[in-house]
Symmetry: C3
Subunit: 655 residues, 3 copies
């Protein structure tokens, strides 16, 4: 029998009287839940005094849940060291750029680079591992919680390690001075120890990029250290739950972990971000990912409640990860905190123990996941289309946005991902390390540098062997550390395409305008790179108005390279033009495009023996999808043929 | 002969050549003023060197004014210690959370908890008291000035006293850990001395609430100490002038004082706040309150002038406190500063000594107050309707707004107070300690906790004896320190009403919609608490659309309790629906509702022998009010009958 | 043969391999450039270790350029000391008010008052001077770069010097206390050393004004010191390139310098600021000014690109300084930085060496400047109309805006300068020290104090001898340090005009309305000063509505004074009313007003033997100008008569 779809919530037994537990478990069963996630912040309860462990209460929770058919996911509590730790090691607190130490009372206020903190973390992780390493009711482990740094620590340990990081990478200070071009402004440093942390003043973008990268690597190493300890004791999957923002090295973080855990609090307004993320997460590991946190009804981190979500949103939101390749959907949180931070956040039941209004949807989900379980377990999302979405690209554009206000993740979504998703196609969003061999078509927009491991070489190889690559704009225009090339406008694209960049400018079609070969207007946004309409290449879109030197230049070219094809694109196209490009490319490689209307998400699922299609309406408006054969909805048993009419937030699991 | 209505301004003789005084006094008499307020910041002039006092100049000012029929209100100058004080005690300056000490040069830059500062203040207060304690021309005393803390001091004295405050309140650190639920995030403290001041990082709402309360109590104790010294020497009323913001404990502050002094700088845009405040101030003490500061024409604290006020506004604005229960209206300031901070603020005369454009209105006011004096002295505002407006409610909702952006004072005004005031009714806005026995109807919306002294018990008692209580939303949903109840949704309301909260959600009628029993739509805002339509209670408004589990639930119920009635309300109603509720309730208890149009403020005044009605137009638009008998305007002698047509900013004192 | 118009760019040879130089020079010649500006930040390359100089590379650059017909402007690199300097003198870094030292890596991070920094700067300036003092290919020197202080240094040296500056100015602390009126708030200081730097807390406007003035004077002295060193060695003009903001003492700074260098980055949106500034710059020195920095196509200081400029803007923008009295237009920068700060800023060629799209316009400009050179060299801008635009006025209104949001520079532009410029008239914008004798008409609006050297006396003298002075609003209303007069509303204007200010108020015609004598409405903005309609003066605009005491008062009066005339204006007039005032005044003194439409800039040029008119369209829309005689465009040879139709961004050099 296959595993269930995991359905549950975050549970904080350390913060409740034991006497409440039977009631909670009764309600969990009413909700249809099969897994609870806990322990993540309960260090003080596990180790009330240094070296004095108490796991009895935690065993009881695991056992009580198990006795009621509910599995456990244990979290290591390293994000919240007890008060005794900071008292003994006050300099382990993050030093804020404004000069104060982060105080006890919140989360992640200790420095990942601090040796005393690392040691204390290692000890509690190992203690938990010894205690629960072979507990059959613990089915997965979560390390720490949401380790990402909005404000970077500036303590002496970080400063020193940053200098050593730079020394390790650049070898000599002269090499760094040369790479960063530091004769400019007389910046040149005499020693690695002279380099300031870029938290005050006006600082070089290359320094800023390395500072970010250094902190990302520190956090990644912190998690990997715990993983190595835990892996000695446990056989079940180990992960860390992340809330991906700002482009930490996600492939690097994920590499030694067993699965991807993801927390999100998206609402009606930004639900479009979810398929985007899930299309990415499923490509990171073979193991289906987990959605470890999302809200049932509303968010409320700051002691007040934010936007209410529409009726039906809870169901749609909970189905999204599962339909798009995950195996779990867990809420944050099971029961509203009775006191403390976030005490009014949406949950499954209230502090007083009463079901929240969307409890019906929660119960419906548990029934539906059970019904669809075999189909979901026996099929996977399957697509020949990939998009690049890389950490380095995100980091670099965060520091050098090219055009004011341009954001890597948001522009990728708006100008490239959303049109293709709305066409009923399903792309994989892949990192820089992902193997390309299974894809027919690859989109690489807004990726400022291709100097990311062997990425450039692997793409070139893949094109030579027959791949179709849609590349640009703002792609391949920087080295790995964010500097310009000086003997060419792009790293490898001019060589590969035989084309030449005539000019690049922050104009979204106001002054420089262009048309398709068929005479239709072409819509540009934010930035335009205009290419030489060279003889060897086919120009699909040409500049018709603007600077004399740009007229006749190309904004979209098609170039044959080896057995493959390169589409070189010079701007962020209008929605209609992006769809036109997709149709051209799909026609080239023989990908069928379904007929749809509205915001319908189409998810092709394929297994060894089964094949199906999940359709989801994400805009809270009616939508349609035309089937090319009769299919039956596993959830309702109803059979569809031809045009499927989807109701707002509808979910159909068709086979 | 009864006392006059006090009419005057703030005067800064210490900042002018003596030779200007005769001219100033001549102009004060032309303006018709009978009182001046001064001394509040003149510490350096009174005590130029430590222990060396000079009160001669101050006596001369008091005497010169008296010789011209103008009384004096003396202020103690503790808000602005001389330079020699901070030089001797640099650590008495407030320590800002960003790490710097507040510098000399402004106001209230010293820490109310600092012993050296307290001692120096006590000495100057006592010196003034000895000197002027029995001066018959000093008719009142003002302590300090506008003592409220936007930014709380973080000095070691405050930190230590805060720890002792917590220890005093919670007894043991385990009790505090339990009350605040500090196993969450491993926050639990090992000692009171471990608790951080919540000025950095992400901190518990309960810690934040206690930190605010601690600082409020420090400021209150600071003022009370001075009051105790002064009271040994003076017989006339003692107060402190406050600018109520952020919910300091106003009842506690006012308790040992003799009257309430109030400063405000409202403009055309926020004039609606004024009746609200005056309806509150008059309930704090039996003695009529003073409006100690307001602008004649414009505000200008930052060396520039802000919004101009309309013609007629000065008159309306000056009448408001007097009509609503005060006995004084004083401007800030008499004459524009010739130099220094705020040197362009609106005043009565300019720095060059010339009348400001609204001088005519000032003169008119002095005549009108004289004419109406006896009526005003012999009657009081008299109403059977009360609203709760408590400091704890304000503090708690400031930290836990329930729904993003919800403000206690502003929502109370907009959704509850304004509709009732616009209906021509006059509520008392009462604090938590106020006796309820004189009221027939009590509204208690948005009061998150009823655990405020014996408030809950007293309300219950009052209802049992026949009161009509309109309660909710967001009321009784937290303990005194802001935590949830865990065995019930509300502290006492479920027990009292026999009703049960089915759900509470941040929805203002977008997804969950409701209707009155008569089929009319009911408009909800921001937040909805839906109740069980239990058999014992009468449901007036029911949910008709939305989550299945909410449908049929009640948003407004009427419950008989003892001899009284409870209206349980689950949301912030639309204006029309609030008025409908008020009409229902008034019909129940036999309160007549006048017919009005526009923004007319109706103020019933009643004394032992006289009775009248003040009508004021506050929207700068025409308005009407239908009299139920013929009445005569004391100001003009004109008699009105039936419909009174009010001109923009009109003031009629009818008897 | 006359000198050329200098046309070039900023060049950073220190940041490029030598091997790139021939290519760069080849492209400079293609662009038609005759001057490069460099050295300004290359301290580390010139003095890699303390006292160890290397100028060989710099000689080679100067020589290579010279060999290709390109002259050099050398910059002293004092804005960017090398790393070794701050390492030896960490306390020479500016101390930020938030408590941190500005780090190495940016620009102008050292304190102009620090002796060690001053000494190091003096040494490198002298070393450069010895080396290049008589190099015939160096045609001008630039000292430092953009020395203006947004955030003032708060180091102990600055604090001490500030105290001595105050002592020097006020003599005794009692004099300062009296002048600043410091009995208010008990601020009075016991010693100059007690005075805080006004960077925290609420501080006196007079203290703030002196703090700003002190820092401006420090920066000016810093530059003047370098000038004195350099002047011992060089014969060619010496200047410093400034980006005037916030009202540093520009006349004082410029006094000992030989010419004015100006940097700006204005765009289509704020191009109106440019004629304003150039009309000012040409009045500062007899030597024609230089526009040392502007962008060809877009700005991009923060690693991203901002607004694109329209086609033709580069040409218009480059012509503006030259047409309005300058002799040079240089771009920042020649070639995009290959790495580092600002690496995506608009330039002439890209980092990869490719011409930017507006390269055609650059080439056109070099041809046009060559063709028009003789006309431009043999004529000057010539006008009988002046406007005051003073540093003290700017400083004072920055601290005391009178009305919230009122800005000296922006309001001067919008309400006074723009209407007159749009009428085809050309004003000189003059500082407080400028001789008035050549002007027939002088406008002095918004100048809060006339106590600026002998300014007041000189104006009065000039009026007495026949000048026509349009004065007000907000003029003469403060002493030199920003305090009120107390025995009169204005310093000298009431005496000179025989009129008296009845009232002043922040009303832009909402409540107080007025009309011209001919019955036309008069439009006021922001602020109104109403004058006594005295018998001796002619009232042109009177108040018709509003406060009783203002009705009949004057907003515009005409007064004969000596042989001259004073127009006393009480508000910021509407555009139409400002034009009406200008027509009245011009009719008085016999200045002809051309007929124009649109945003045409008319620049009369006159020399000993030649006379002409430059017309420029600045609104990117068609415009017209009616010639009173036939004229020929030097650029195209085309002859115009009667109505000239200007195309968007057109430039005609008519003779």
């Amino acid at each position: 029998m296959s595993d269930p779809i995991y359905f549950g919530a975050a549970y904080y037994p350390e913060a409740w009287p034991e006497s409440e537990r039977p009631y909670d478990i009764k309600m969990m069963k009413e909700a249809g839940m099969n897994v609870m996630r806990f322990g993540e912040f309960a260090w003080h309860k596990m180790e009330p005094r240094p070296g004095e462990y108490d796991f009895k209460w935690l065993h009881e929770v695991v056992d009580d849940l198990a006795a009621n058919g509910i599995k456990s996911v244990l979290g290591t509590p390293t994000a919240t060291p007890p008060r005794w730790f900071l008292k003994a090691h006050p300099d382990a607190a993050k030093l804020h750029a404004d000069g104060y130490r982060m105080p006890h009372g919140g989360r992640r206020h200790c420095c990942s680079n601090n040796p005393a903190y690392q040691e204390a973390c290692n000890r509690i992780v190992e203690a938990m591992a010894r205690e629960f390493g072979d507990d059959p009711n613990v089915i997965a482990w979560q390390l720490d919680n949401e380790i990402y740094s909005f404000s970077t620590c500036t303590c002496p340990v970080c400063e020193e390690k940053f200098h050593r990081y730079l020394e390790q990478k650049y070898g000599t200070i002269d090499a760094l001075n040369a790479a960063w071009n530091l004769e400019l402004f007389s910046q040149a440093y005499d020693s690695f120890d002279d380099i300031p942390m870029p938290v005050h003043g006006w600082q070089s973008p290359h320094l800023k990029q390395e500072w970010k990268a250094f902190h990302y690597q520190s956090d990644i190493a912190f998690i990997h250290g715990h993983r190595d300890i835990l892996a000695k004791y446990v056989k079940v999957p180990i992960s860390t739950d992340q809330m991906p923002v700002n482009g930490m090295g996600y492939e690097e973080m994920t590499e030694p972990l067993d699965l991807v855990m993801f927390n999100h609090y998206n609402t009606k307004e930004n639900i479009h971000a979810l398929p985007f993320w899930f299309d990415h997460l499923r490509t990171l590991k073979d193991h289906p990912f987990w959605n470890t946190e999302t809200a049932t009804g509303w968010n409320g981190s700051e002691s007040c409640v934010q936007v209410m979500k529409p009726i039906g949103f809870c169901r749609l939101n909970s189905w999204l990860p599962v339909a798009l390749g995950g195996e779990a959907n867990l809420y944050w949180l099971w029961r509203q905190h009775r006191a403390g931070h976030e005490l009014i956040h949406g949950s499954v039941i209230s502090a007083a123990g009463r079901p929240l209004p969307m409890f019906d949807e929660v119960q419906q989900l548990s029934r539906e996941f059970a019904v669809a379980k075999d189909f979901l377990r026996e099929t996977k999302v399957d697509t020949p289309i990939a998009f690049h979405f890389t950490s380095l690209g995100w980091q670099m554009m965060g520091i050098q946005p090219v055009v004011k206000g341009l954001g890597y993740e948001s522009a990728l979504k708006e100008y490239f991902y959303q049109p293709i998703s709305d066409m009923g196609l399903r792309p994989d969003l892949i990192g820089a390390r992902k193997d390309l061999s299974t894809y027919k078509v690859l989109f690489t927009p807004l990726l400022m540098s291709l100097e990311d491991g062997d990425l450039g070489d692997r793409i070139e190889e893949w094109v030579i062997h027959g791949g179709t690559w849609v590349v640009g704009p703002c792609t391949d225009i920087r080295t790995a550390i964010g500097t310009h090339y000086i003997d060419r406008a792009m790293g490898r694209l001019e060589r590969m395409t035989g084309s030449k960049m005539l000019g690049a400018m922050p104009d979204g079609g106001t002054y420089v305008r262009s048309k398709w070969n068929d005479g239709e207007d072409f819509g540009a946004n934010h930035w335009q790179e205009v290419y030489d309409p060279a003889e060897m290449v086919e120009t699909l879109v040409s500049v018709t108005d603007g600077y004399e030197s740009m007229k006749g230049g190309a904004l979209l070219q098609k170039i044959h390279y080896g057995k493959g094809v390169i589409y070189l694109l010079g701007t962020l196209p209008s929605e209609a033009d992006m769809k036109k490009i997709v149709r051209l490319v799909c026609a080239d490689v023989g990908i069928a495009i379904p007929e749809t209307s509205g915001r319908v998400l189409a998810i092709p699922r394929k297994g060894d023996h089964r094949e199906g299609l999940i359709l989801m309406e994400t805009g809270n408006e009616p939508a349609t999808y035309i089937l090319n054969r009769a299919m039956t909805d596993i959830l309702t048993g109803k059979t569809y043929q031809g045009t499927v009419e989807l109701k707002p937030y509808d979910v159909l699991v068709l086979e």
